[in-house]
């Protein structure tokens, strides 16, 4: 009754090609924009912005990057955190070494640097497939983190490899408060998500999906495998790189290479698996889930067991619950949260009638 396309006619090609073909979706989108872009920064307190909303947005971006590579182009990667590290340190060095480098330009350049590195580590994908490729991408993970630690030039000769992100200044305005940083992150993430949504609807995205579904067949009907796969690696790494730069500049503030370890790569992979492989929206849902779950467990576990238990027990119990929930989710809904949303929409179309 409320949610159906009946009566909405498309009178032009532009209308036919828009991102949200159903009016209710468009309204929903703008409501979301208003809520998260205007209401949340006005109402949420600092803890929520700093510890939950900003990381959710940043990890959504990283998950989006991995989703492009794994969900759309079908290349399993375990090195996304390393590309985030490349982005973070590239942005740091661009701003540090070039006088008057505008932040947004540095952000794009950091993404481009990550994309170049991504292409380099994507080259093996032309020969290797499946889990062999996944393990091969671990080479990127270990090598990049090692290189960032070993060569002090990257961290401007700081003894511990830790760098402190400079102030974020755009057109003379310094983004210092959590609210300002949140809005900046939010805008960047929204723009990049819309770009991604358009990309996967275009010929580029179709080429990726063709390669994902069967690369030999895609090659036979004329897709250039090398171009398609490397483009997927480049775009994915670009997104991860920008996410890494944002991680350093709007979230943590001080970063060390070790922060971008294998655990983080796995977390990003969890995000897309739980959110939904091959879904832009799934990246956001998954990121929110994986960021919120440990926070939820932190508060919830002591609540049911009381404070009497040792910290060791609590942290182990959280580990078990975290792993168990992931397995549970995989069993209950292997296609992720995005699939649940889709099912809900299908149901909404018919509601309140049975057929």
């Amino acid at each position: 009754m409320l949610y159906r396309e009946a009566g909405q006619f498309k009178a032009s090609y532009a209308e036919d090609a828009r991102i949200f073909p159903i009016r209710q979706d468009r309204i929903g989108f703008w409501v979301l924009m208003l809520v998260f872009g205007v209401a949340v920064p006005l109402l949420a307190d600092q803890y929520w912005l700093k510890a939950i909303l900003i990381p959710v947005l940043i990890f959504s971006l990283a998950a989006l990057g991995l989703n492009i590579l794994t969900g759309y182009a079908g290349q399993l990667s375990l090195g996304s955190a390393a590309f985030m590290a490349v982005g973070a340190f590239a942005a740091y060095n661009f701003i540090l070494r070039i006088d008057g480098m505008p932040f947004l330009v540095a952000l794009v350049l950091s993404g481009a640097t990550a994309a170049l590195v991504g292409i380099l580590f994507g080259l093996p994908s032309l020969r290797i497939k499946g889990f062999y490729l996944a393990v091969a991408t671990l080479a990127a993970q270990f090598f990049i983190v090692w290189a960032l630690v070993k060569f002090p030039w990257f961290s401007n000769n700081s003894s511990s490899g830790v760098v402190t992100a400079q102030d974020v200044t755009i057109l003379g305005y310094t983004f210092a408060s959590p609210e300002a940083k949140y809005i900046l992150t939010f805008l960047i993430v929204v723009v990049m998500a819309l770009l991604a949504k358009n990309m996967v609807r275009s010929s580029t995205g179709r080429a990726w999906m063709a390669v994902r579904d069967m690369d030999v067949a895609a090659q036979v009907i004329g897709f250039r495998l090398m171009r398609t796969k490397l483009l997927a690696f480049a775009v994915s790494s670009f997104y991860c790189g920008v996410a890494g730069a944002l991680y350093a500049y709007t979230y943590i503030g001080t970063v060390e290479p070790e922060a971008f370890n294998l655990d983080l790569s796995f977390k990003i992979l969890f995000m897309i698996i739980i959110g939904g492989v091959g879904s832009i929206m799934g990246s956001f849902l998954g990121a929110a889930f994986i960021v919120l779950l440990p926070i939820f467990l932190d508060n919830f576990v002591p609540m049911i067991f009381g404070q009497s238990l040792g910290a060791g027990f609590v942290s182990n119990f959280q580990l078990i619950v975290f792993g168990g929930l992931i397995i549970f989710f995989l069993i209950v809904e292997p296609h992720g949260l995005a699939r649940l949303w889709q099912i809900a929409k299908e149901k909404l179309r018919l509601w309140p009638f049975p057929h």
Partner: protein, 308 residues
Amino acid sequence: MQFFIEVLIGGLLSGVMYALVALGFVLIYKASGVFNFAQGAMVFFAALTFVGFQEVLPGWLGLEADSSAVFWLAFLLAFIAMIVLGSLTERIVLRPLVNQPHITLFMATIGLTYVIEGLAQMTWGATVRGLDLGIVDEPIAWLMDNYEIGVSKFDLFAAGVAASLVALLAILFQYTKVGRALRAVADDHQAALSIGIPLQTIWRVVWAVAGFVALVAGMIWGARNGVQFALTFTALKALPVLILGGFTSVPGAIVGGLIIGASEKLAEVYVGPFVGGGIEGWFPYMLALAFLLVRPEGLFGEKHIDRV
């Protein structure tokens, strides 16, 4: 030259230890197509359970703490624990996920890794424990005296254990009924199922065998480096071995382990100083990667033919 040989032998022998962990991966991948990331956690769990039983058994049964009865009883109990763990995994995690894409199963085993790690530390505590197998880690005197090459007794012992384990597995696979069923399942699930081989039993057996391999690997690694959380990272050591040797090949795991072990140590000694050292973390991966560019299925992996 002597130094070179010493490094080479040391590397080969440590490669055997990598191969031990890789073996567990191969067994499960072959039989069920699951890339079991939890193998490292299983190594940790097995070693911790063994040491834990070694600690509590003397008190329960009134035996001498270092008697061989305690050792074997603890070994048996740890093995039983691994069988239970494997069966539970099959029942709770794998059975509901049958026919899901490989990546989903892989993610499930990462979830399983967290559960096993938490479970192990919750049961036995997180302190670092020593594990004594009665073999001292010192150079063999005869080699040292005559050729001035230091080869650790312990490493040689580990190699011997690995060799007997592989022999045991080969016998199990080639000459027993269960082994034949295992090979049939590895070859073709559906065909095996259709001639009446109980798939789920076979999977339980495979997980039990992988648990046994994890136990042996955990005891040797634990005796070397102490039983601690770092044992779970043995999985990361085993992955390059796997892709080098091929996911589906037991000999591949051994040969891959030897190649990775030897080249890693040689590279650390001869190349490491030029780039600041610490290259052990990524060098095996780069090596395996370079190798895969030539042979995409690894050394002994099955060649995959794509049909459109």
